[in-house]
């Protein structure tokens, strides 16, 4: 279980996350939504121990501040926003980096690496260099790396942003098929909300303002209010229509 108590993160004088408390159960899927600058990414970074914060965060009962990087990495893995890299690591090299928190050996022939690559469907790219991949291919490789890391939770920061229509479908399929993993996913993609399901959390100005499920009857109203728009009008553009 992830437990956040009274979390506050400041960047200088600006408050990015304010007095936020949250519990995420094992295997729970959480979609984190909110306008730009509402503190979603900062929340993920706090969970990963990448920013200084006030308050307390517990990963399976142990406080984040007291854990080493490796110990945190065994609890939560991270799928960052898509990035570009000039570095010519092969997909296999790249995916195998996910094993770091378990062992410092060179694991290229480890079955887990090949399985993860196969699971996200990029076996044909195993020896290709990551700086030559398309956005969708790279995103799958990053997910494979997170799978190899084999933590209880996967944190994802807009995994479908910048992807084409087909890649979005494929990536969402991969994520929704994950078993026994807690997922905390930042997304602006209503398709993701529909496909992944689970808990929906809305954030605005660094505060948690709604927690519910996609079945909640007042979800649409809350989303409309959070983003100050009327989402009913875009229903027709969804691949997975809102029920």
């Amino acid at each position: 279980m992830i437990e956040i108590r009274d979390l506050t993160v400041r960047y200088g004088k600006k408050i990015a996350v304010e007095n936020l408390s949250l519990k995420v159960k094992d295997g729970e899927r959480v979609i984190l939504m909110g306008p730009n600058g509402s503190g979603k990414t900062t929340l993920l970074r706090a969970l990963l121990g990448l920013v200084k914060f006030e308050g307390r965060i517990f990963l399976n009962g142990r406080e984040v501040g007291a854990l080493s990087r490796t110990e945190i990495a065994r609890e939560i893995s991270y799928v960052p926003q898509i990035f570009s890299t000039p570095y010519a690591f092969t997909v296999k090299d790249f995916v195998s980096m996910g094993l770091y928190s378990h062992s410092r050996e060179w694991w290229h022939e480890d079955r887990r690496v090949n399985d993860a690559i196969e699971m996200v469907g990029i076996t044909n790219l195993t020896l290709k260099e990551i700086n030559t991949l398309s956005g969708g291919e790279l995103q799958k490789a990053i997910i494979a790396r997170a799978l190899v890391q084999d933590a209880s939770y996967i944190l994802m920061d807009e995994p479908t942003a910048h992807l084409d229509i087909r890649s979005v479908q494929e990536v969402l399929d991969i994520i929704s098929n994950l078993k026994n993993k807690g997922i905390i996913m930042v997304s602006h993609d209503l398709n993701a909300l529909n496909k992944i399901g689970g808990t929906v959390i809305l954030m605005k100005n660094g505060k948690l303002i709604f927690r519910g499920t996609k079945e909640d009857s007042d979800l649409k109203r809350w989303i409309s209010e959070t983003f100050e728009t009327n989402i009913r009008e875009i229903d027709d553009f969804l691949y997975f229509p809102l029920t």
């Binding site: 990087r69 960052p80 990035f83 690591f89 980096m97 890391q149």
Partner: protein, 328 residues
């Protein structure tokens, strides 16, 4: 992973050995291969070797060849570490202020006693590096963007001090000019011995972290999320590589381009991963410096500074690599 990478690493080891043997037979004084073989035999089997030939081979050429291999190795590996940690392809091992710090130490050394030069060069190199590191610490870890700027600033500061000392006392400081040009003249077994000890103590530290160096290249946040303690590893590898670079500089002065170009050549052949690169870059550095130094000491007009040769050889290689990359 490509099996050719194993082969290439082994090939480089053999190339180094061949390079050493060839260099042993080349020099300002011509010694024929048969003379070399005969004297090696006589030297090791207790007979009386030809004094001139054996002195040249075992007390002049061989220590210098070994020194070139050691220094090339140091510059190659610390160049690689610098480029990786700073994620900057133009990184060279002098980036943190080593060379200009050492220049100040050397200038002061030549003013007091030439025999203090290596000691003072080392001390001042480490002072410059320490200042750069202290300036660029934030939240208990080294901020690499700050460190580049701090290194450049500290370099300018120490260069100014060195220039001022040299300008004031130019007639007493001709030694500094030779020193600044860098060179492996005056190599001795004692020098080889101590540098070798330093190398085998320090090199394993960098080799040990080669997996982490790979992951750090992907980006700090990702590296941390994968479990890498980036702050500690950056500080340790950079400090350790600055330390051996300072030792190298204090022994032979400032020799450019080896640290910059060796990792690039290595990457072209074995790829990005430090798994092989950590061995390949220093081996390439050793071979380039050895070949350059053999040319530098063998010209009929008397020795020319080796830095001129390394730049002359290294710059076209780098240009060729960049040209190839652009065409891809």
């Amino acid at each position: 992973m490509k099996p050719t990478n194993y082969l290439f690493t082994i090939f480089l080891v053999f190339l180094t050995i061949i390079n050493i043997l060839v260099s042993l037979s080349i020099g300002p004084v011509h010694i024929s291969i048969t003379d070399i073989v005969r004297n090696i035999y006589l030297y090791f089997f207790g007979k009386d070797p030809n004094w001139t030939v054996s002195t040249i081979l075992f007390y002049i050429r061989l220590p210098r060849i070994i020194l070139a291999v050691i220094i090339g190795t140091i510059l190659g590996v610390s160049g690689l570490v610098t480029q990786t940690i700073f994620k900057n392809p133009l990184g060279d091992p002098y980036l943190t202020g080593v060379s200009s710090g050492a220049a100040v130490g050397a200038a002061i050394g030549f003013l007091t006693s030439p025999f203090l030069v290596p000691v003072l060069a080392f001390i001042f190199a480490m002072i410059a590096v320490s200042i750069s590191f202290i300036i660029s610490r934030s939240n208990g870890e080294v901020n690499t963007e700050m460190l580049i700027l701090a290194g450049v600033s500290v370099s300018f500061l120490f260069s100014a001090v060195a220039s001022y000392i040299i300008y004031l006392k130019i007639t007493n400081l001709r030694g500094v000019i030779f020193w600044l040009l860098g060179g492996l003249y005056g190599a001795t077994w004692t020098e080889d011995y101590w540098l070798f000890i330093a190398l085998i103590v320090i090199l394993p530290v960098i080799v040990y972290f080669r997996k982490e160096l790979d992951i750090i290249l992907i980006g700090d946040d990702q590296a941390k999320s994968l479990g890498v303690n980036t702050g500690r590893i950056k500080t340790v590898t950079l400090l350790v590589s600055s330390l051996i670079t300072s030792l190298a500089v204090s022994a032979v002065g400032i020799i450019g381009f080896i640290g910059l170009v060796s990792p690039h050549i290595g990457r072209k052949i074995v790829g990005e991963s430090h798994r092989f690169l950590i061995f390949v870059a220093p081996l390439i550095g050793a071979n380039i410096l050895l070949a350059s130094d053999t040319i530098a000491r063998s010209t009929p007009q008397g020795e020319i500074p080796v830095g001129i040769i390394t730049s002359f050889v290294g710059a076209p290689v780098l240009i060729y690599l960049l040209y190839r990359r652009r065409k891809l």
